[in-house]
Symmetry: C2
Subunit: 172 residues, 2 copies
């Protein structure tokens, strides 16, 4: 079995955000996808260790901001490689609070959606949150950042807590 086959799956890149009381947090995720069109329903897979998981699990709402191709690596690093337990990830970032109270990123973003969780599916290390759309908007006509582009062109790396992390052993 060659797990590198999983690298070939296609994904976008998203800032997935939520709230807890008056606190907000967000993380990078690549597993946002539409589940049904009637009613418009999406799902996202989030690692249980992440602070954003705790916020979504408690508030039952999240937003997903779809990143564009020219998103700077530092912007992805801010949301993807730091924990909201140690830092306010939104300091200096342009955002607005959506109708669910979740923060929507307004820079490097093509479109966004907000959703209310209707089902939580336990998938071991991750939870798949299934959620009905309550708002969605297109901000511009930029191109969506793909995970493949992020990996190959930007030579980005994947943290171990991502669902798409594959441990590739280097040959000695």
């Amino acid at each position: 079995m060659d797990l590198k086959a999983l690298y070939k799956l296609g994904y976008g890149m998203y800032v997935v955000s939520s709230k807890k009381g008056d606190k907000i947090n967000a993380q990078i995720a690549n597993t946002v996808f539409q589940v049904t069109s009637e009613p418009p329903t999406v799902a996202v897979s989030i690692n249980k260790k992440n602070l954003t998981w705790e916020y979504i699990h408690k508030s039952k709402v999240f937003a997903a901001s779809v990143l564009c191709t020219d998103t700077p690596l530092a912007f992805i690093g801010r949301f993807g490689f730091k924990s909201g337990r140690d830092t306010n990830k939104f300091e200096g970032v342009s955002y607005k609070l959506g109708m669910t109270g979740s923060p929507i990123v307004l820079e490097n973003t093509v479109s966004y959606l907000e959703a209310k969780v209707t089902q939580e599916v336990d998938a071991g290390t991750h939870t798949i949150f299934i959620a009905e759309l309550v708002d969605a908007n297109v901000l511009n006509e930029k191109t969506t950042l793909t995970y493949e582009y992020y990996q190959q062109v930007k030579r980005g790396t994947t943290p171990k807590t991502a669902p798409s992390y594959v441990e590739v052993k280097k040959e000695a």
Copy 2:
């Protein structure tokens, strides 16, 4: 709410296949994604009306062949816009039966995976099949076909049974 925001989500394009006894069938899907890495687990959202849904639901196995960018539209049409109830979709197609008995497409394919279903999540019109990998391989280093590329460059269309179908009303 502008549902066109959902068009901006990033996906690959896959031939998702299964079996029922000695019968095989497959369909096009864009919602194959990795859920966890330990154990390697994927998920796919399939419309309950589709024959492939019935096969996966009964056999509890499926394969996903990751399509490459230069896949001809006619090849996608064969699997995506016809029903296996009326036609043998694999006639004339190069494939092999994998270890689960599901057919793996060997043309226009970058990599493939086979999986055994561990959970079925009812999402209304669709079922999300969560499944543990039993085999996976990379066939070549071609580029994965993205749904965006398929939509925009190939001017492909989306059947109403797809999870990503969005009814866009034309102005009078």
